[in-house]
């Protein structure tokens, strides 16, 4: 047996029949893309392989058929079956499980989850900002959970959230309270659409120098962000790249000119954070 840390693949859950929404949630669109496409793209930016969890009766659904699928291989219903089927299909892989109905889920939140991963436990999950309970459908499930989940179901359990509570899986505090908001009703969908349209992410170009280049592991990147100002952007990137320098020690330049931290950023701006200088 290898003691190496298992690789992480993505598993998108979009199987729910969505009685409250009266339509297939996977097809709901935000900013022109379906929830399903958005979830795949998000996961694909962080892990090498992404699969769609489907029930046996969904494999021919046109929306799902073009995806790589993991078909429920265990009797029963609900997300626990999708998670167990993935763990069974690839016993040496850990799964970044994402429900497709989390329209506010950000790269930052996924990245933070992966960085805080506890590969020796059963799972790594966030604490919901609304009810303080674990969020099992934006979580990393480890191979070691497979047997415990089977045992839990054999004992009559069916709720992955209660499984996480029972096993006292340590929980991460979400960086953004809204990141895990899910959308279950037409009213929630209308609110989420409006919120996402008004905070439309923009494309920015960021270049790194010196210590920050080394800590970011790259000299530049194009990013999609909703950060309104350089201050917001630094907060986002500091967490993503684990920058050691507090913002108070930096200056910032936008489009090759020194800038205020509170300037409003625009689509296409080029941003450089300037760590303490040492010329001469």
């Amino acid at each position: 047996m290898s003691s190496q840390v298992a690789p992480v693949y993505g598993l998108i859950l979009a199987g729910g029949s969505s009685t409250r929404m009266h339509r297939d949630k996977a097809a709901l669109k935000y900013r022109g893309s379906s929830q399903l496409d958005r979830a795949f793209e998000l996961a694909g930016r962080h892990v090498p392989e992404v699969f769609l969890s489907v029930r046996a009766d969904q494999t021919l659904d046109p929306m799902r058929a073009q995806r790589r699928m993991i078909v429920d291989a265990i009797a029963g219903e609900g997300p626990i079956i999708g998670i167990r089927s993935a763990l069974a299909a690839h016993p040496r892989v850990a799964w970044l499980v994402l429900a497709c109905d989390l329209p506010f889920l950000s790269d930052e939140a996924v990245d933070y989850l992966l960085r805080k991963r506890d590969s020796a436990g059963f799972a790594t999950a966030y604490r919901s900002a609304h009810d303080d309970l674990p969020e099992p459908l934006c979580a990393i499930w480890e191979p070691a959970a497979a047997a415990a989940l089977a045992e839990y179901q054999a004992g009559g359990g069916h709720c992955p959230r209660k499984f996480l509570i029972r096993h006292a899986v340590p929980l991460l505090e979400p960086l953004d309270r809204r990141a895990l908001d899910n959308v279950n009703t037409p009213e929630e969908y209308a609110q989420a659409t409006a919120a996402l349209e008004s905070a439309a992410p923009m494309q920015l170009h960021v270049r790194y120098y010196a210590l920050m280049r080394e800590q970011a592991g790259r000299s530049e990147e194009s990013i999609e962000t909703s950060a309104a100002t350089p201050a917001d952007l630094y907060a986002e990137l500091k967490s993503r790249h684990a920058f050691s320098l507090p913002r108070e020690q930096l200056k910032v330049a936008v489009n090759s000119e020194f800038s205020d931290w509170s300037r409003i950023l625009r689509q296409g701006d080029a941003v450089v954070f300037i760590p303490p200088v040492a010329g001469g």
Partner: protein, 159 residues
């Protein structure tokens, strides 16, 4: 162009030519060299890195400020980037002027401002195999004080 970068050794003879003027009665220059120690550590080499688009603009502004504040004829600053060995010249400032006093003052103004305004970074490599970005890693706090002290000196000189 009153400020520029070079990746090759700084050619001081050629740079000096750019300052020559029949109206000038003298010329002052400053050369910054890579020294073999810093903050108690034995340094073996340095790497300089710059955000050049912004540094050239800000460097031009510094030299223009010096020309406005002090009645000198010409001024130029050249900063090297890349990997430098001990004894290499990292920066050169030259000023020509009618009289010597303002040439010294302008030269001092330029090098002091360049050191703390331009987005240029220096990574020191030490004898013990360690390395570090100056002012960014362990000595971030003391560096702030040094800057403040230089500002006060400068204000005093400028008056």
């Amino acid at each position: 162009m009153r400020f520029r970068f070079t990746e090759a050794a700084i050619d001081t003879q050629a740079a000096r030519q750019e300052l020559q003027s029949l109206a000038a009665g003298g010329y002052v220059s400053f050369e910054g060299w890579v020294r073999n120690h810093n903050e108690g550590q034995e340094v073996t080499r340095l790497e300089y890195e710059a955000f050049q688009e912004l540094a050239v603009k800000e460097g031009d502004r510094i030299v223009a400020e010096a020309l406005r504040r002090f009645p000198v004829a010409h001024a130029l600053c050249i900063h090297r980037v890349g990997s430098l060995a001990l004894g290499d010249m990292a920066v050169w400032v030259g000023v020509s002027s009618e009289h010597r006093g303002e040439a010294f003052d302008a030269c001092r103004y330029i090098i002091d401002e360049v050191k703390h305004r331009l987005p240029i970074w220096k990574k020191e490599h030490y004898r013990n195999g360690d390395s570090g970005w100056v002012n960014c890693e362990r000595c971030a706090a003391p560096a702030q004080h040094t800057h403040a002290a230089q500002h006060h000196d400068l204000a005093a000189t400028a008056k």
